[in-house]
Amino acid sequence: MRVLRSPVALFLLIGIVMVVAIFLGTNRLADRAARQEAIAEAQGTTEVLARSVVGPDVPKGLSNVTRRKIAKADQMDRIVGPRLLDVETVDRVNIWTPDGRMVYSSESLPLVGRKFGLDEDQLEVLENGGRGGGIADPARPENVALARYRAEVAEQQRAAGEEVDEIYDGGLVQTYTQIISPEGEPLLLEAYYTLDEIEERTNEIFNAFRWITLGPLILLILVATVILAGLTRRVRRGAQEEERLLRSAMDASDAERRRIARDLHDSVVQDLAGSAFAVVAVARNPETSDDARETLESAGTSLRSSLKSLRSLLAEIHPPDLHAAGLAAALADLIAPAAAVDIQASVSVEGAETASNEKAALVWRVAQEAVRNTLRHSQASTLGVTVRGDGQRLTLEVVDDGVGFDPARVNTDSYGLRGLRSLVADSGGTLEVRSSLGEGTTVRMEVDAQ
C-alpha cells in the first residue's frame, strides 16, 4: 500500500488498468465488427447464389414438393449440388415456400416436404425482397430436427461399425433472400455458412488494428509516466524546500523569542523584582507616613502583578521546564493570561509522565498556538486544555466556546498551525481543527507518546 502512496506508481497502475480496459473493450468491439462483417459477407454471397447459382434454374413445380413428391427436388439438387461444392463456406442451402414448407435442402433431405414455419423477418424478405440473416439459432425447429436426425444416423453408423460422418459443430451464419419460381411465386432461399472460417478471415484484418490500438496506448502511458515522475520529483523537492524554509523560519523565530525572553529575564525581571522588594521594604518602615505607605503598598502590588504577567509572558516564549513531568505546570503558565480577558481557563493532564520530552514539547507548542488563537480571536468565555496519555498515544485537546469560524471560508492553517501540522505529521501524528460559526473551536492532536 506504501507503493500506492507514490503518485507515479498510482498513475502507472491506473494507466495499466485503463489500457487493459481499452484493449478488452476494443477487442469486444472488433469481434462484434468482425461478426457483422461475416454476416454481411455471407448475405452478399447468398444474393449471388440466388441470382446466379440457384435462382435461374428453379424447376417448375418445385413449390409443390411434398415428402412423397420429390422429383422436382431431385432436379433442383442435380443443378445446385455441384455448384455449391465451389462455395467452401456454405454448410447447406434450403428453399422455403410462403407457408413454411421446405421444398428443397442440400443437406437436410429428411426434412424436405415438412412444414416448420418462417419467422417474421423471413416472411418479410420472402414477400418483399431484400435480404436478412444473423447468427443461426440452433433452437429453430428445423435445426433441432436436423440435429436429431444426424444423431440417429451417427448412432446407426456406430452400431454397424461404420465410420461416423463428420459433422461441423461450430457456429453458423444464416442468411436468406427472395427467389422467384418459374410460375412467378416468391420463394425463400436460405443459406447457412460456417462461422469459423469467415470469422478467421475477418479477424486477420482486425487483428492488425488491435495492435495498432495497443501500441500507441502503451507508449503514451510510458511517456506520461516518465514525465510525471520528473514533475513529481520536482514538486517533491519544492515541497521539501518549502518545509525546510518554514522550519528555519520557525526555528529562527523561536531562537529570537528565546533570546528576548532570556534578556528580559536577566535584566528587566530582575530589576522589577528588586524594585518590588524595595517598595515593600519602604512601605513596611515604621517611619513611613500612612499616606505614603498606602501608595507604596499599591505600587508594590502593581509591581508584583506586572512581574507575574511578565513571567507568564516569558514562560510562554520559553517555558523553563519543558519536559513530560513539567507539562502540566507549563500548560498552566500558558493559560494564565486568560483571566485578564475574562476567559475561564482550565488544564487537565493525565498519563503524560511517561511520554518523551520531545513529544511533551510538541504538545506544549501546539497548545501554545491554539491558546494564543483563542485569546486573540474567539471571544470565548471558557477554555479547556486537556492532555491524555496511555503510554502509547498522547492526545491534546484545546476547546473553547467562542464564536468559531467557517472552515470553508477561513484557511484553518494559520502560519503557526501550518508549521506545526507539518511537525506533527513528521512525528507520525495528526492535527485536526474543528469549528463552525457560533459553535466554538476544537484543536485536537494525537501523536505517539515516544
Partner: protein, 140 residues
Amino acid sequence: MFLRGPAIVLSFVLGAAALVSAPALASDGRAAKDDPAEVDRDRCNADTSTRAKLKVDLAENNSLRLVVIGTVWSNDTDVWEWKLRHNGEVSDSGRSRGSEDASLSFRVNRTMLNGYGVDDIVFRAENLRSGEVCRTVVNY
C-alpha cells in the same frame, strides 16, 4: 455307352445352373435400403433382343442421395426417348442412342434424393423409330 455318360452329366450341370440363375435374373427386387437393387429384363419386346437394366444404390459417402443407373442394350443406333420417374413424377428425361463403343447400348446415370420411406423408381425408354418400350421398376 461311354459317350452318353458324360453328356448326361453335362446336361444336368447346365440345367442346374439355369435353375439357380433364373430367379436372380427374373426378380423384381425390393432390397433393404442399404443394398443395391437391380432389375434386369432379358427382353423389352418379345420380337427383339433389346434388354434393359435399372440399378439403384446409395451414393458413395452420402446416405441422403441415390445413384440411379438405367441401361438399355438396344442393339441398334436408333434414338430412344427415356424418362426416370421418382414416386410417380418425372425426375428427368431425355434422348439417347445406342453407341457402337458401348456394344450398341446407352446408359442414363442420375442422382436422386433418398426420400422418406420407399422410393419407387421407374426407368422407361421408347424407341422413337420402332415404338419398342423398355420399362423397369425398382422399389428402394
